[in-house]
Assembly symmetry: C2
Amino acid sequence: MRDIRLQKLAHLIINYSLNIKKGEYLQIRGSVVTEPLLKELYREALKVGAYPEITTYLEGVGEILLKEGNDEQLNFVSPVSRTFAEKYDATIHLLGGVNTKELAGVDPQRIVARRRAMKEIIDIQQKREAKGEYRWCLTQFPTHSDAQEGNMSLDEYADFVFKAGLIDKEDPTAEWKKISEQQEKVVKYLDQKKEIHIISKDTDLKMRTEGRKWINCDGKVNFPDGEVFTGPVEDSVEGYIRFSFPGIYAGKEIEDIRLTFEKGKVVKAEAAKGEELLLAILDTDQGSRTLGEIAIGTNYGIQQFTRNMLFDEKIGGTVHAAVGSAYPSTNAKNESSIHWDMLCDMRDGGKIYADGELFYENGEFLFDVIEKGI
Amino acid sequence: MRDIRLQKLAHLIINYSLNIKKGEYLQIRGSVVTEPLLKELYREALKVGAYPEITTYLEGVGEILLKEGNDEQLNFVSPVSRTFAEKYDATIHLLGGVNTKELAGVDPQRIVARRRAMKEIIDIQQKREAKGEYRWCLTQFPTHSDAQEGNMSLDEYADFVFKAGLIDKEDPTAEWKKISEQQEKVVKYLDQKKEIHIISKDTDLKMRTEGRKWINCDGKVNFPDGEVFTGPVEDSVEGYIRFSFPGIYAGKEIEDIRLTFEKGKVVKAEAAKGEELLLAILDTDQGSRTLGEIAIGTNYGIQQFTRNMLFDEKIGGTVHAAVGSAYPSTNAKNESSIHWDMLCDMRDGGKIYADGELFYENGEFLFDVIEKGI
């Protein structure tokens, strides 16, 4: 059975997001339950003359490895992963599975150990990406599991997902091009600035962004999309931040996270629930106490928190920060095997200043200020 | 949910059949519906310290490629297939899917073209296998689709599958070792012989087997198992054979196949139904009109024809022949991108002579003759 919305989404991802070309090697990766979208993407990739390969994985296998594998098995990086990382031009990752709590019973240390082992693969891909030899896109296939996580029925959740991506519009690609233009103004404005100051409930965070590039997220790397982000100067982050929404790591929740930064590093970390996991994440490796990313969500079509960072971080009216690895495209330097986002609501009195100038208030950009500044 | 029979089967395959060792790279391959067995095999492989990788495929994707791909896409061999073929020590292939008629609507020429393209991968594996660097095992996960094909309910079919493999016994491994010993007598006897003569209904086929090795199939490469086979001297096959059971190729049936051989090649081929496909198969390439294998089924625990060659060819009381590629372990030479088995019932008056001596009659070995001859 073929849902026209999946066909539209697949067409947009292959053409607009990734611009897959004839002869390119494309990996399309998703859980077995994402089958309908895997197949539509495969079809669209064949249409443009590419060489697509579907990698379907079974949920539960990761859990078996983490619980029953020995250290060598946990650290093993298969040559097949290397082949994909070294030789493929693009990867589409599909979110959507049978159970968001799959790894909830696994020792967090085992999870971070496996992440560390797989960093080798991520490094290969990031190097190639920096050279323009590799690109990727992450999108959502609506499943019962994710609907449940977001407190919705599957039909409601599917509507939510497609609306957030403007797939319900007649010409989604045209809509995303318009959004891209609007965001470009914000990026042009912020690229000129040296310091960002974020103020909200229990939040007063300063950081320098001089020499850093702001990125316009317009549906190429994440879909749905809607954010602008950069990587702050690593040792410049000072102050404290309280995240409004729970952080989720491998299906486990960490509630009411408060971080204090000094000279760019997290020196104090607290959580009302899940503090042990929070500290394990922050202690993953040398780079995991450093802010790799600061971002502002711009998708006002997403108004509900669904406990899925792909959507949550895009919520128009929020800001998010990630500890761990930075994106080289921002000129940021931080390296880590993790990149973990935490979300902050700015709609109730939140303010952001750039070089002392207020350009964002109560969850909205002040476009008169922004346009005057470019 | 975990079925103890799958755990016993997985344990037997990893230990008895393949003898997977610590540090080995193992690929476990099956359709998404074979999930329970994929996971048990994965667990057993972890237990012995190996590095297992599950490859799950979606049915329907092959159909999309064959129907919608262009010639280059049909001929494309992914570097990932090469990595598996070159670097993995062993592969477990699981039969069992959602629909045995998946490819029934595909042009047979497209199917054979794809087979030809993938021959490169098979060649790499066969070369490594000949050097003892690679091994594989094929087994069945019971599914509704295969039960339906065999005219049974799923529960009945599962019982059939496990009984055929002696999984219902307390110590299946001990049972298979006993079978192996009994078959070894037949192999020792036949290894000394120069000519085989098979007589049955509308069948009178002679072939030389001098210098060829008979193989004892005792659950290492196929499971369930139960046959002895060799590859006849390529240009020596003379006579005619009528196959009692329909041949099945990519889900399509070919009924009442009759082949005539001269100097080892099929010179005449007829079928009551599906003759076009039969001729397409025989014309796949240079080697597809030559007999690559002659075999005698020995599993008297399998008495029903279920339209699944893994089981059908093992039926105690039958003989099977395959056109196409030979197994190098038999010293046979034929190369082809196909290896296609056809089955012949010997229980009603069938006879097999070795160097003129009757050693098999009405579907049974004459063990007094065999034991006298070794």
